[in-house]
């Protein structure tokens, strides 16, 4: 064991200098004993991936702007390229942020993709294709994706139920938009909302108890 004359303390762990006063210490290394292991700094490969990915996204935006202004200065196409890259970046970022819970991830992606498609639709002439096709499609796809994931991961009711309900609920939006009159092509919206309605009814009918406890849990004030 080592000893510091100034602090008058015995030092159990191995140090070159006194851990309290940084002064010179006496004693041999013999008899010293660590109480914590040496722990190496962890490297998270995900961080580097995300840095690279972000850099590539920015680079694509900048390069397309450069090409645009050098070769086709009369056409302003680079804004579309940049907007596209931003959309891809946002989707990936959300996906990475919520990577630990795939069902939650799916809900987020559904919302993000919906808003992105509204945006693109609005800036490309507002033909309402986002409401006609995109919204019903992602509504059905999300529900199916969730069912598959919860089967593969063998999730328990308390892990999937709330997301099933949210996804089912979001799937009812197309019929609302149809009713308001935004939707022009009717059959995708009818298909999606009908499917989701049945899905929700099924949950209520066959899993009533679980649905209710889950709602109570999630909404307790």
């Amino acid at each position: 064991m080592k000893y510091c004359e100034k602090c008058k303390v015995k030092i159990r762990t191995n140090h070159e200098k006194c851990p309290l006063c940084q002064g010179v210490i006496q004693g041999e290394k013999e008899g010293t004993e660590e109480i914590f292991p040496e722990i190496k700094e962890k490297n998270y490969p995900g961080v580097l991936f995300f840095q690279c990915f972000t850099f590539v996204c920015i680079a694509v935006g900048v390069v397309s702007a450069m090409i645009n202004y050098i070769f086709t200065p009369s056409l302003q196409w680079c804004f579309y390229a940049i907007a596209g890259v931003i959309c891809i970046w946002v989707c990936t970022a959300v996906g990475l942020l919520k990577r630990r819970n795939l069902l939650k991830n799916a809900i987020w992606q559904e919302i993000v993709i919906a808003f992105i498609s509204f945006g693109w639709d609005a800036f490309t002439g507002w033909h309402k294709w986002s409401f006609d096709y995109v919204l019903p499609c992602i509504g059905i796809v999300t529900v199916l994706f969730m069912i598959v994931i919860s089967m593969i991961q063998k999730l328990k009711p308390q892990e999937y139920m709330i997301y099933f309900m949210i996804a089912g609920g979001l799937g009812l939006l197309p019929i609302v938009f149809l009713w308001i009159g935004i939707v022009k092509v009717e059959y995708p919206s009818i298909l999606c909302s009908g499917f989701c309605f049945l899905f929700l009814i099924g949950l209520l009918l066959f899993r009533y108890h679980i649905v209710m406890t889950e709602l109570h849990k999630k909404f307790h004030i």
Binding site: K10, P19, R100, I221
Partner: protein
């Protein structure tokens, strides 16, 4: 269907404010006299978790509040591989809120504060260590049977003490606003808490405290205050040094809960240049007598609950609420300079004594925190700190060695 429960009052702040700055994780260790065997520890853990299944919970987000849900995840013993008190709770990940690890002679139990407080954690570690020792040395217990010294029904263990005693408390007195002196300096970095712990004899310290006619806690509080004061400039003396001292409310309001049930008192001292240690000691003693009463503690408890009962806050979505709670936490942190947490003496059946050297405890902190815990004659005083400087620790331990008390220092420092 998995059982679930609300977070108790004091616990609500922890998930909202845990992060890289303060992981809200604390560790209890038990140092044995022989090297720990991993497989046996796993067996002991399996038994302990069966006895206290409350710890097998995961933290989940509701729309308005977090809640705890029972799980069937089996806790796995690991050889220590994380920095002390680094984050255990990971967002969106269904993992247990505690970890049992071992290193050489030490069994470590690290736990996220939302799950339990020091008393609950100590109960679990005691249970774990008892099982471990009975597995290692089958003949150690005289009556061959591990007596569960924790006599409470499942329901009692799950009690929310705050809710239970809320009705009793009447009268509203606002806490006065204090801006305590704040420590500054170079930090160790995210999730790096520097640990300096000293082992000394209970008897020798108790002797010194008795000479002054005070308890050990009062004595050490005064030593800590003076250790901080030594690092202050004249200008900084305008602000008081305030120590937050957590109090186990079970001692004042009977409860068998092994969830969070603690309060705290703030002990402050305004230094004016040349205050002697005796001056500080005298005032601290008075302060403890005045503050450490059922009334004083219930006033703070009341404050905490009334915040939770606020109808506007209750219906605020969790994400927004977390921002508010984090901000409120930052403001209330200004009230204190440091924290001094006394876990008291650990008692276990005497048969185990030959195998155990000591128990120690420390916690993550955005400041500097002193935790103390004793087993037989071994008193462990552990400082955890986010600052690189070791001056306060040096002042503190030099004060003790100056009295002729022998101290043995062990540390975890960062480059």
């Amino acid at each position: 269907m998995a059982k679930w429960r609300r977070l108790e009052n004091a616990a609500k702040i922890f998930p909202a404010t845990s992060g890289k700055r303060d992981s809200r994780v604390f560790r209890f260790s038990c140092e044995l006299k022989e090297t720990v065997k991993g497989e046996v520890l796993q067996e002991a853990l399996d038994r302990a978790i069966k006895e206290m299944p409350l710890f097998q919970s995961v933290l989940r987000r509701g729309i308005f509040w977090f809640y705890l849900e029972n799980s069937d995840i089996r806790p796995i013993v690991v050889e220590e591989n994380r920095l002390p008190c680094s984050s255990i709770y990971i967002r969106d990940k269904r993992t247990l809120l505690f970890e049992v690890s071992y290193f050489k002679k030490r069994i470590n139990f690290e736990v996220f504060h939302a799950l339990t407080d020091g008393t609950g954690a100590m109960l679990f570690l005691k249970c774990l260590v008892s099982h471990y020792l009975t597995l290692c040395y089958p003949n150690v217990l005289k009556d061959k049977r591990l007596v569960s010294y924790y006599d409470a029904t499942e329901e009692e263990k799950e009690d929310d003490g705050f809710q239970k005693y809320y009705q009793m408390i009447k009268g509203k007195k606002k806490l006065e606003k204090i801006h305590a002196y704040q420590l500054t300096g170079v930090k160790n970095g995210e999730e790096k808490f520097q640990i300096i712990e000293g082992v000394l004899s209970v008897k020798s310290l108790l002797e010194k405290a008795r000479e002054q006619n005070v308890t050990m806690t009062v004595y050490l509080t005064a030593v800590f205050l003076c250790a901080i004061h030594k690092e202050m400039s004249k200008r900084q003396e305008r602000k008081p040094v305030v120590l937050m001292i957590p109090v186990n409310l079970r001692k004042y309001f009977p409860s068998e809960s092994c969830r969070n049930f603690f309060g705290w008192i703030d002990v402050g001292y305004r230094f004016h240049g040349e205050d002697s240690f005796e001056d500080v000691l005298k005032e601290v003693k008075e302060f403890f007598k005045k503050e450490l009463t059922k009334e004083g503690l219930s006033m703070r408890m009341n404050d905490l609950i009334s915040l939770e009962e606020n109808p506007f806050l209750r219906v605020t979505p969790l994400g927004i609420k977390n921002i508010f709670m984090a901000a409120a936490n930052r403001i209330s942190e200004r009230r204190e300079t440091a924290v001094f947490s006394n876990m008291g003496a650990v008692n276990l059946p005497e048969e185990f004594a030959p195998y155990i050297r000591l128990f120690d405890v420390f916690i993550s902190t955005p400041k500097i925190e002193l935790c103390m815990c004793s087993y037989h004659d071994n008193l462990v005083l552990s400082f955890s700190s986010c600052l690189k400087s070791t001056n306060i620790e040096r002042n503190f331990f030099r004060h003790l060695t100056g009295l002729g008390i022998e101290v043995e220092i062990s540390t975890k420092l960062y480059e």
